[in-house]
Amino acid sequence: MEHDGISRRNFLKTVGLTTALAASGTIPSVLYAGERKLVRFPGKTELLLLTSSPPQLETPLSYFKELVTPNEALFVRWHLANIPTEVDLASWRLNIHGTVNKPVSFRFDELKKFEKVSYTAVIQCAGNGRSFFNPPVFGGQWLNGAMGNVTWGGVRLKDVLQQAGIRAGASDVIFKGLDKAVLPTTPGFLKSLPLDKALEDDIIIAYEMNGTELPLLNGFPVRLVVPGWYATYWVKSLSDIEVTTQTTQNFWMKTAYRIPDTPCGCVEPGGTPKKTVPINRMTTRSLMISPENGSTLRSGQSTELMGVAFSGGYSVKEVLVSVDGGLSWAPARLGKDLGRYSWIQWFYPWQPTRKGTYTVMVKATNSIGESQPMTALWNPSGYLLNPVEKHTLAVV
């Protein structure tokens, strides 16, 4: 069985080494890939360090016991090392230009005069869980902490674009932030959305996370929020919006952040896709947060398994739990529903009486029938990871 020969490295990775280390206060001097130490960056609590420049920090899974992720605990991911470490709202502007009737520029206070929209939505890095890919792939070796559930407040992108007036022939909208590459030879980070997608009601320019301003490391003063889609589109410290008549040829759209153009977004493990498309909507996922993988429980003692489930913009309809390695499944109770973009908590009371090792599995299905594969699908960039999670619990 899969969990029978877990190497030390994989064991530590799955069980959440750092949580254990943080508790014991010891951080090993030699860190294996997949092992992480806790660090505190400005405006953030102690997060798992992936890389320090550009900063990539992930959230310890224990924070996901909460329905909403605190601002200071939300993951951090920048692409280019010259990130904005200082922003002065007196000089900051959001510029809208390109194929528009009238280029416009908004101060922060002007932007906030548009009608305010607020909702809770999962933000998840496209490569969340990449470290679990087999065969492994290059890229940030995230565990499962490059995600969070945040209540965003902001103004509709559509309303802001309409102030500039979109001209006939426009097809795409390009978004740029304040971050810059170190070298002039490195492609600047930008993302684009097809115009019809950009004009959807729910896409906002967010100036609030959970009711307060964004931490600089999460994109102060405003970031794009594209609920249901991977966070690569949620451009941080947004400062420039260009309406254009053609699809961008920039590296970050044309080469990076692409998935195989197949129904599953996957190819056979180790394979090469014939054709790719830009990554877009998130796959359906469920995670077990408590008890942690590898925990030991007492026989006869009642416990409650819990975790979170979400999908790319379509409410989670059902979460099934198996405590016998997938032989039988039973529905979990779902928690408070904060809307189709939010994750939902699931709870499953359990009182194991037989001593031994249990393989506990969890599987979510959304309102349009999208679910999770029993074994992980594969693509060469390490995106879309969403297999049914298998946790090993010992009952003694």
């Binding site: 860190l31 890939a33 997949g34 660090v39 960056f41 400005p42 405006g43 360090l49 992936l50 890389t51 320090s52 420049s53 550009p54 900063p55 090392a81 990130i83 470490t85 200082e86 922003v87 002065d88 709202l89 007196a90 470290s131 492994p136 792939v137 290059f138 940030g140 070796q141 590459a181 170190v182 070298l183 002039p184 030879t185 490195t186 492609p187 301003e213 600089l216 490391l217 102060f220 003063p221 590296f251 080469t255």
Partner: protein
Amino acid sequence: MRNRRTLPGFMLIFCVTLILADLTGAAMTTTRSITLPEPSITLKEGPGMDATRRYCSICHSLDYITTQQIFNKSRWQAEVTKMITVYGAPIPANDAKVIADYIAAHYGN
């Protein structure tokens, strides 16, 4: 009796003043700034370590190397080539080979 009344009254005014000062301060501050911690990763000693540190850390901290999975030499060569051709890293060809060899030897297989 008099003392009991005056003390809370004084404290109330003091607190209100503090709150007002705080609100005014927040409204007047238009700048947010942070100082990032310095990267602290050190690479394993070995031939090519200097070149690896010198060139790779131009654009990113060295934990970009140390947190990767175990990849073989040809995968690391391809990765270094990608840094040059895609991201524009100014690495001369001979140094690129030294760097890929070093990483594969110390962090790959």
